[in-house]
Amino acid sequence: MVAALGRWANGKARDSAYALGFFFQVLKETALFMRRKQVAFHVLVLQILFTGVEAMSIVALIALAFGAVIIVEGGTVLPRFGQTSLLYSILIVVITRELGPILTAFVIIARSGPAIATELGNMVVSHEIEAYMSVGINPIAYLVVPRVLGVTFSVMVLTIYFNFFGLVGSFLVAQLIHPIPFVEYFSALLRALQLRDILSTVLKSFIFGVIISVVATYHGFKVSASVTEIPRSAIKAVGQGFVLCFVADALITLIYYV
């Protein structure tokens, strides 16, 4: 029992050390990315295409739907308490500070997390990673950094895109319930919008992007020899991505309000 506990603790410590080492390698190679001859640049462009451009329709749809839900709920509940004027502040807080970053992150975790982990895991098993090393290509610089940059950039842009569509969605539904002129609606939203809301959405989306990409690439590289490890690593990329994004979201929100 004690021996098993010791082995478990030893394994966890080794995994943590490996994860930390991986993270620092990624940081170092990211810092050097612009200095390198940019053979990895097309990998970055492809990653933005897969993670950012191809997710635009689903993110827009979710944003429109959530914007509509918030305006319907808010427009129904708030007048009962004589707080209709709070509707714009609630829209801004809920969409830009919370739902925009976290729901965009969820979409990317579900779409790109397993895709990245599976692709890299397959490369490990088929010795493609060793082949990169054999020709002098650092796999972290060539395969991980473009994915980290591409996913992070995509999450940040998609979050702004989500916020925009969330607010547009709420406007469109508002026209059905209680038509408001376009200028009046968006003027009220801009009055409710504060610099800290923008900072919050940018900071959260940046951190979520880093978490999603580093976790997915880490689990892809953690595959050692067998194809049966690949689905497990994809599942872990999704699970840990969700958990770490939730924890980071809670911490950032706490720091903002405390």
């Binding site: 090393m133 054999s134 020709v135 050692s224 020899a225």
Partner: protein, 265 residues
Amino acid sequence: MADIIALEDVRVTLGGFQALRGVSVGFVEGKSTVIMGPSGCGKSTLLKVAAGLIPPDEGRVLFHGKDIFQLSERGLMDMRRQNGFVFQDGALWENKTLFENLALPLQVHFPDVPAADRNRRVIRALERVGLEESASERPAALSGGKKKIASFLRALMTEPALLFMDEPTLSIDHAMTDRIHQIIRDQKGRGSTIIAVTHEAQLTSTLADRLVVMDAGQVLASGDFDEIKRSRHARVRAILSEVLKDIASYDTDLLSLLDGNGESI
């Protein structure tokens, strides 16, 4: 001649299994060395450690006397440019076309060469082995033999002085095997250092200047081919006989050497 690669008391554990147990061996510059041994004895691991693809848990790997795993980034790049590695399963990059597979090493090591010159070089290499029509195909669309040939071409794109080969003729037909033998003979003729893991008797017979015989993660014997095939070590003789028994037609005195003093192999 001096060792181009030397391993000093190298130990490697992979997935809890001790793949190499204190291996010390040198590979002489300009010579072709064949690593032999039963399946699972650590031959491929030794090859990858020697090529700097797997770091040892203990011990050192020296390239021209310098520890590979202590080299600066520039030093490592120089070393990689001078080395080529042919993987057992080809290990072509599946998300790239055959052309891109061959062009990438040139892009990495010669970034200042104009793209048109690089492309010409890749096309020339493909034409030499008759694969020019497959240039735009992905590896998944290629046969096993073509993948192996392509893996050779990729390893040779930077004209390396040292070539590592892991079972270069495994699971491919006669025609492809002949083409690969020709490529290897050409490399040997140019004076390249070749380190190969193979079970193929004909290749061993035509290629090996030196032999390394392994068993259970350890080197049992290493040295000149002629010297090793006369070894009195029972396990070495048993391992050699497994591979070399097939090559009597290529080396008429070999079986008699292995059967020396009437001993059965």
